[in-house]
């Protein structure tokens, strides 16, 4: 292969890999009806606009090239240019028709995409309320039977194929809910209720991000959406309804004592314990989540130690203060938190 040939392989390979990539957080993810509709629309727009663009470029190049040819008669002469270009007139009218029909096609495509997204959302079977805080997501699963409600944070589990309506509220400033693989953006505005509907189509894990600047740690306000089969989703829900297990080991017991009598219980809630704070994320099943601090770090024991000991060095400005735990207190607290699966 020649050098030029080899060079042309690289962009093609990249393009190919883009199509087969998992799309963890990508607008090409196509993991839900909304994302698919949106992507189809995107492709239609891209094609039509690309044609228009290329045509415009072609005309531009052509007109520059014609201008360059020396000695050509100046077409701009009084009374002459009208009769000398009937071709121009036809070209103008037909080009106008092409552009007009292109725009109409875009409008129709847009309308169809919007309506199909709306109809897919029409019969929502699941309802979730997501409340944005600086800088974490409070997630609450609504249920007809209120005693089956689930509260969690920074992680949403959804059943595949089931339309879910996510009601969006904010406790402080404007945030924006964006899981690119699943759907578009929707703002969370304090004092106002908005909502977004999603019908996930592919089982998998998707990352979302706050898409409206909301303060110092806006960049570290991610969320994880876990799309499961319906059966796995119900199992997860039932597990979430269980209160936190009682600590078994002495170290975990010491951690429990610290968590429920010191700073932690003032902001956090752990079902089955006296801690019922609503200011911070619910920790009942904290250890089963994939990330710590709204995507700031993946969940692991080392990261947990770092977070509990000094959250301000990881997410400076976040509302969780650096308490300054003694080493034995730190071991105990992390040991207890790890039991909250």
């Amino acid at each position: 292969m020649t050098v030029g040939g080899r060079a042309s392989v690289v962009p093609l390979a990249l393009a190919a890999s883009a199509c087969s990539y998992q799309h963890y957080q990508s607008t090409f993810g196509n993991a839900a009806t909304e994302a698919r509709q949106f992507n189809i629309l995107f492709v239609i727009f891209l094609v039509i606009c690309a044609i228009m663009y290329l045509a415009v470029i072609a005309f531009l190049v052509a007109s520059i090239a014609r201008r360059r040819r020396a000695g050509e008669a100046n077409t701009v002469e009084e009374g002459r240019h009208h009769e000398s270009n009937p071709l121009m007139r036809t070209a103008l009218i037909s080009w106008g028709a092409v552009v007009g029909s292109g725009l109409v096609a875009l409008a129709i495509a847009s309308f169809i995409a919007d309506r199909s997204m709306a109809s897919a959302a029409a019969n929502e079977k699941l309802s979730i309320t997501v409340t944005g805080n600086q800088w974490w997501w409070d997630v609450q699963y609504n249920a007809g039977d209120n005693s089956k409600m689930v509260r969690t944070a920074n992680e949403i589990h959804l059943p595949v194929g089931v339309p879910v309506r996510i009601y969006l509220k904010s406790n402080d400033v404007i945030h924006s809910f964006w899981v690119p693989s699943l759907a578009g953006k929707q703002d969370l505005i304090p004092g106002r209720d908005t909502d977004i509907t999603v019908v996930p189509r592919k089982v998998g894990i998707y990352r979302g991000q706050c898409a409206e600047f909301c303060g110092a740690e806006h960049a570290k306000m991610a969320l994880v959406v876990d799309v499961d089969s319906y059966r796995d989703f119900i199992k997860w829900w039932q597990h979430q309804l269980q209160p936190a297990p009682a600590p078994a080991t002495p170290l975990a017991k010491a951690g429990y004592a610290f968590v429920t009598s010191r700073n932690c219980s003032v902001c956090h809630a752990i079902a089955g314990t006296p801690a019922s704070g609503t200011v911070g994320p619910d920790l009942t099943h904290f250890a089963s989540r994939r990330t710590i601090a709204a995507g700031a770090m993946p969940m692991s024991e080392g990261n947990l130690y770092g977070w509990v000991e000094d959250p301000q060095s990881i997410k400076p400005g976040s509302k969780m203060p650096t308490i300054g735990l003694e080493p034995n207190e730190l071991h105990a607290v992390v040991a207890y938190l790890e039991t909250l699966k």
Partner: protein, 619 residues
């Protein structure tokens, strides 16, 4: 040209005037302090007090409600409309406290007992000697920190006397029995925990050999309960919670609520989000009543917590409703929920008057409840069925009560929501009438209701639960309702469900009422006027300006000399008077859970105090 302009200006001005007056929804201002008579007092067949619960008057006053039927009616008739203006001060006594005084004096066999707000001193005064000197003082020494978890001033609503002992509660959650003669403690039981935000402010009810006590703290995220202590030993006989699983609520096979919405298993868990019922309120800080015939106690349950309703979707059983329980075992017999999923802090703890009314040619045993939600409930006390529920003042937070389903009909325009301020909700959080009980006269058949006329703005926000601190989640601002008067005293006909006469008052009425067989009604205003009113016509007969606002129960007793005495303690405070008793700053309208805005002028009109006044007719 000029004439045309003039014409347009005139038209515009008159249109503007018409528009502005159309906006003014309040009726022309009534004369404050003087009665408006709506109908003549009823004659003929009218309600009477439940006979077993309301024995003949022996001239004493042994419990705050006068009798188990909570009539607050004195059968003494020496004082009449003709001679009440001659009432003269017989003696006074300073209780040495300056917080809100909500309790009645008790009088038993020539001794008067006074229980003060924190620090809950119990005084015994010897009425047989001139000047009523102190016999003894009992000082329970409650924990000073309990003042930090008492939502609405550090009040005490009274003691009770039974078989030689005085029973009362302290702010830090103890119930104490003291020998009525010697002042020595007989027993003391700790029931409440201030670390959880619990206090006890209510007056115990001594019935069926038990001392019934309930906790306070609906604004502190407590779990509400009512407990029965054995009268002789003070040991806990039973405790019934008002939220949670049926076994905690003492709901068993005997429980038969009348309406479908109150029927089901473990509703005290199912109608709450998970775990929310553990900090859901439902306290018992008002007035239980007792029917000796059926051995049932009736009591109302306080508000669910927090005030922000979005944190507790569901009906929130068993809060803001009325329970009937067997006094010996505590088993629930029936329950009626006045405001499911309460939005406005309309505790249902008001007094429950037991009466018998003529019903289709027979006598029907009922109970009367002028509720905080604004409706005067008449319910069959055997089953809880609502016979009538008419508003006794201006109500726009609800549209009425559906008698078929028993459910209150909400007005969804007034639904409170997080992040919004909902304006002009009537009645305001203290309700159309708060804890201060009304009086029922079996002579006139009327219920005399001292109450409020307040509306509020309510802004809900997320509440954080930290035990021992408030769990509210709302900013409230209260102000006068339609008419501009903040209080009113209404004489209500419970059978025909209408006002007979009403006296509008400038300030909210926070004092209980007293009615006598002589035909005189007594109540006090928050700026210190103690008034005597003709029970039939509403005409003011006499008034006396006390040293402080009056929020305590007036009583009437027969002294050792055989004369009729009228007594009350003046000491402004409570939720309404916290502006004065807690020395608040009135520049913040949300102070005292919104009350500061409604009574900004109170510090100019009265000062704190705690003085007993006793009146009688001159010889």
């Amino acid at each position: 040209m000029q004439r045309v302009e003039y014409l347009f200006t005139a038209l515009g001005a008159s249109a503007a005037c018409a528009a502005l007056s159309a906006c003014n929804r309040s009726p022309p201002k009534q004369q404050l302090g003087s009665a408006t008579v709506y109908q003549a007092a009823p004659v003929g067949d009218h309600a009477v007090a439940a006979p077993a619960a309301s024995p003949a008057d022996d001239g004493n006053w042994v419990m705050p409600g006068k009798d188990y039927a909570a009539t607050r009616f004195s059968a003494l008739n020496q004082v009449t409309p003709a001679n009440v203006s001659k009432l003269a001060l017989s003696f006074t006594f300073s209780t040495a406290t300056t917080h809100g005084y909500e309790a009645p004096p008790l009088v038993v066999k020539g001794t008067m007992y006074l229980i003060t707000p924190f620090p809950n001193y119990l005084y015994a005064l010897d009425l047989t000697k001139p000047g009523a000197p102190t016999k003894w003082v009992f000082k329970p020494k409650p924990l000073a920190a309990s003042q930090g978890v008492a939502c609405c001033d550090t009040v005490n609503r009274g003691a009770a006397y039974d078989q030689g002992r005085i029973f009362f509660n302290t702010l830090d959650g103890q119930t104490i029995a003291v020998d009525a003669n010697s002042g020595q403690q007989v027993w003391r039981t700790q029931l409440g925990d201030i670390q959880k935000g619990e206090t006890i402010t209510m007056a115990p009810l001594v019935a069926g050999g038990k001392v019934l006590v309930g906790n306070s703290g609906g604004e502190m995220g407590v779990r509400g309960w009512i407990a029965a202590l054995d009268e002789g030993s003070g040991k806990l006989a039973w405790r019934a919670y008002n939220t949670g699983p049926d076994k905690d609520v003492l709901i068993g096979p005997r429980f038969k609520p009348f309406y479908k919405s109150d029927q089901g298993k473990d509703l005290g868990v199912k109608t709450w989000p998970p775990e929310a019922w553990k900090i859901g309120g439902g306290t018992v800080w008002g007035w239980p009543s007792f029917d000796p015939e059926t051995h049932l106690i009736y009591y109302g349950v306080g508000n669910p917590g927090p005030w922000n309703p979005d944190q507790r979707p569901g009906d929130n059983k068993w809060t803001t409703g009325v329970f009937a329980r067997d006094v010996s075992t505590g088993e629930a017999v029936w329950f009626y929920q006045t405001t499911p999923h309460d939005l406005f802090d309309h505790d249902d703890i008001n007094e429950i008057i037991l009466a018998d009314i003529p019903w289709k040619g027979q006598r029907r045993p009922v109970l009367f409840r002028p509720a905080r939600a604004g409706f005067f409930y008449v319910q069959d006390r055997r089953t809880g069925q609502v016979l009538s529920a008419a508003p006794y003042g201006y109500v726009n937070g609800y549209k009425g009560v559906d008698l078929k389903t028993g459910l209150i009909i909400p007005n969804h325009d007034k639904d409170t929501k997080v992040g919004r301020v909902v304006r002009d909700i009537c009645p305001a959080a203290p309700g159309l009438k708060d804890w201060n009980p009304s009086a029922f006269s079996p002579v006139t058949g009327l219920v005399y209701i001292p109450h409020n006329n307040l509306c509020m703005d309510f802004g809900a926000m997320q509440a954080n639960y930290i035990s021992g601190t408030p769990y509210v989640g709302a900013d409230v601002k209260m102000y006068a309702g339609p008419g501009g008067n903040r209080g009113a005293f209404t004489a209500w006909d419970p059978i025909r469900q209408r006002k007979v006469w009403e006296i509008p008052e400038d300030l909210p009425l926070w004092s209980p009422a007293l009615v006598t067989a002589g035909g005189v009604v007594f109540y006090g205003t928050m700026d210190g006027w103690f008034k005597a009113i003709d029970a039939r016509t509403g005409k003011q007969l006499w008034r006396f300006k006390a040293g402080s606002g009056i929020i305590g129960q007036p009583i009437s007793y027969r002294g050792p000399d055989g004369r009729q005495y009228i007594a009350f303690v003046a000491g402004v405070g409570g939720w309404a008077g916290a502006v004065v008793s807690a020395k608040m700053d009135t520049r913040d309208p949300t102070g005292a859970l919104g009350f500061a805005n409604a009574v900004k002028d109170l510090p100019m009109k009265t000062t704190a105090g705690g003085m007993l006044y006793v009146f009688t007719l001159p010889r």
